[in-house]
Subunit: 329 residues, 2 copies
């Protein structure tokens, strides 16, 4: 079958999907407030053939931050909790950790002291727990941790703390020919083992921070080994750089929740034609957490100050979302 035939069938498929979606609310967990209306208006104008804002399917790139945008991030990034648990797990093989900071504090359960060294400590703990093994071994460690751990406040698995309204948004966009990507400050290989099942986003559509790796053949068996050296930090100014490196074209939709996403929204919005910038504002202390300008995690200040001027949509979790977390099976 040639490419033209494939394209025609894809076109029929897209038209069919568009027709079906007329009949059901594609975003049932969103209240009928301004953010939902803005999202729907944007999708309609970029997908309506003949509209001056029409964007062909290949260019419908949508990027989503992960922590605090697609799943929760309190009381601390879940990857940090993985690091602490992994330090405890690896401690028997690393007896010196008992007397060496920041590991000693982690082993005593004193996370606050462990984090006193700032980014340097965090990177040191990341290297000690994420490097020196193959990518396959690391994937197994992440998968096992997610299967056996529960969030201290909700009692849910971490992968059950993904936001139902955002799952609907991802599905809605894909049904309209968008390609959805994660662009996160979190570790790319920490996300890849579970995001396909959780969000329907395949590993090749994940952009994140990474450490260097090396190809090795041991006893005839090739492996990719993780090295204790940072490769790329996909945060703030790094996000447009990561998007350019991995995707190679500018998104038309970007969603985030913190000032770490500012440049990603700025870069997206500055493209020609219709663009949508979306900020998730954590305002619901009862159903989730309420935090913004003064938070140690997911701090959102510049984004709130500039959203109106930049025509970014701010979704207020308390006012705009009927549900927070995904329905449990």
């Amino acid at each position: 079958m040639n490419r033209n035939c494939r394209l025609s069938i894809d076109f029929i498929l897209l038209s069919l999907c568009a027709s079906i979606s007329v009949f059901a609310d594609p975003l049932p967990s969103w209240n009928d407030t301004a953010p939902k209306k803005s999202i729907e208006a944007f999708v309609e104008k970029v997908t309506t053939s003949g509209s001056p804002d029409f964007v062909p399917p290949a260019k419908r790139i949508a990027v989503f931050d992960n922590d605090g945008t697609l799943w929760a991030e309190q009381p601390m990034y879940f990857q940090a909790l993985f690091i602490f648990d992994r330090i405890a797990q690896l401690a028997p093989d690393n007896p010196s950790w008992k007397t060496t900071e920041p590991f000693a504090s982690v082993l005593k359960g004193d996370i606050q002291s462990a984090l006193k060294g700032g980014e340097k400590s965090l990177i040191e703990m990341t290297m000690a727990t994420h490097a020196g093994i193959t990518t396959k071994e690391f994937e197994a460690a992440v998968t096992e941790w997610l299967a056996t751990s529960r969030h201290e406040k909700t009692g849910r698995r971490y992968t059950e703390m993904v936001y139902q309204p955002m799952l609907e948004l991802l599905d809605y966009l894909r049904a309209h020919g968008f390609k959805t990507f994660i662009v996160s400050g979190g570790g790319i290989e920490f996300m890849r083992p579970w995001v396909e099942q959780a969000y329907g986003i395949p590993p090749e559509q994940v952009v994140g921070s990474s450490i260097k790796t090396k190809y090795e053949v041991r006893d005839g068996i090739p492996a990719i080994v993780r090295l204790p050296e940072m490769n790329f930090i996909d945060d703030k100014e790094g996000k447009p750089v990561g998007i350019n490196q991995h995707i190679g074209r500018r998104p038309i939709l970007a969603a985030g929740n913190s000032d770490g996403d500012f440049q990603m929204l700025e870069w997206t919005s500055a493209g020609e034609g219709a663009r949508l910038g979306l900020l998730i504002h954590h305002t619901d202390a009862k159903r989730e957490w309420a935090y913004d300008r003064d938070s140690h995690i997911g701090r959102l200040e510049k984004g709130l100050d500039e959203a109106e001027r930049r025509n970014w949509v701010v979704a207020d979790m308390k006012a705009d979302w009927k549900k927070i977390f995904r329905d449990l099976d």
Copy 2:
């Protein structure tokens, strides 16, 4: 529309495509020799539901080297020819080049002397011609060069020197649910402006060598600026590393033509289940070029020595391909 609906429609689409392709030869430019049969047998077994070798569509990742595999690479990588032309173009703004090597030799048309400095000279020339501008400016330079240059031997545009049998293979694989990627030692941003039109491969499915970039906002307008520093070399051991970084899963099919592709084929073949490694052997001095063990470009020695033992398919361009270059419009 929910994801299940989309998946069902995709399934119907794939089945439909498979049915259509029964009636026409999907690889008309391949002779009915062993390589074509091996490719068809592989695709049939990984796409036949119920087959012990069945691979679900999401895992049907196929990776292709570019230079010498999808398009020609003689008398020199086309990106090198772009570099030399760009040095001539930028020379008026860089008067010191007239007396500084390797630039002086390039300006005299003495490429052999310019390349005497080996990799160091080549990187120096790459930086001088690829960095210091925005990604948008670089894309424009590549696009303009491709539109206005012709190959000295064939008189064709470089993008007309893509291999017809490989275009058919890419289409055939995509019609069977494969996702096709380029994994090339060439510059990722040198390829992205034209590979979608030439091969049907979108920019986000291109893995390549890269220089570092930086996000900047000048007078309120954000841009990504190319820096004179290597970021990643996607060749030899770098290919599995680049695949892991960008794609995050192991391919089930890899095609290359030189020992720079050896590790990519090795990594692909070492995965569980059915795998296909394909080497394109340049044997046709009349219709293209004949070169392998002693070539300064696209040297193929280890691959030829080990192909049989590793069950890699070697396509002999002279014996197995009816056509070489793509049909001109």
